[in-house]
Symmetry: C2
Subunit: 205 residues, 2 copies
Amino acid sequence: MVFVFYFVFQNGTKKFWDFMRTHDSVSILIFNSSRQCFVVVKQFRPAVYMCEMERHHPQDFQSKDQDSWCPLLDPLPATVGVTYELCAGIVDKPELSLEEIACKEILEECGYDVPITNLKRITSYRSGVGVTGSQQTLFYAEVTDQMKTGEGGGQPEEGELIEVIEIPLQDSMKFAFDEHFPKTMVVIFSFMWFQSNVALGMQEK
Amino acid sequence: MVFVFYFVFQNGTKKFWDFMRTHDSVSILIFNSSRQCFVVVKQFRPAVYMCEMERHHPQDFQSKDQDSWCPLLDPLPATVGVTYELCAGIVDKPELSLEEIACKEILEECGYDVPITNLKRITSYRSGVGVTGSQQTLFYAEVTDQMKTGEGGGQPEEGELIEVIEIPLQDSMKFAFDEHFPKTMVVIFSFMWFQSNVALGMQEK
């Protein structure tokens, strides 16, 4: 759903603004201490795929002003639309706390049944300030192999096709800054946060 | 401009997807070494403001399906739509390199005339994977007071109303994790990146 809003700024400037309504969300940095790895998700993102299509075939996008359009000529492989992300979910159940929603997403997407007390709030921030402006809250969850009760993978009936990926701790900073693996900012941030806030403590033990 | 795309996944699932076309972008972590502070921008974001309006007055949004709508009853102060962000800009000039666009934005938004050789590429990542999927490239720029040639503030004629803010290095990690200052993820990340990659080197000198 897209809205157009009209603002009058203090200096008298008038401006229309596209605004896409989205929900707030939670993201979770998951660290499996049994296997000393991060657990992230890899998924196909249509918006990322379309960006890459436009980058490679800009001429196909120049005169497209219809609302619905399906590119057929010379498509790129689906892999160009795949990104690595933290386990995440939208906040659409007012009866659940952010922590409860985070635990539910960890189970659905990654297959770990995590006690809520294992969650640590890292911080919150604004995502997509130009378009959606919603708030995302980031948690850290330590899990063990014993908590693994399922395969994860999201909810295929809702169109979620999620692959669960393990990134060994020892490779994580290399992965974070390797631009060959498309990823979101919060993946890079949270791996670095772990180094400063958790890994140092582990070494001292 | 919003598009609706139609995908058929490998498992046969069909799905429509809203997709908002946006440009790739650059963000720049600016550190003023003369004043030992970060230079960030503070601006009003209509999308953030509308999110806060919806959070406080959800009932006003429930039956709004028209395309254009202007809330008048009981508005919140504009300050709830203000966020702290890195200096940034969209990549909309094919004849300019990412570095050239970054320098142009530093001058327009923050008033520093920075030689292109002062820019260091940190990394790139995907922003707004659910909606826009565009790529953002992050740079680091060290500036000095001698490079300050203007006030910055963006281009008011294009509706940009940007306030240039200095965050002292010594307060920066506190600021990064203080949720009372709404900010984007990349502000938090880049301040932390600086601590690990630049500040340590400064101490050794």
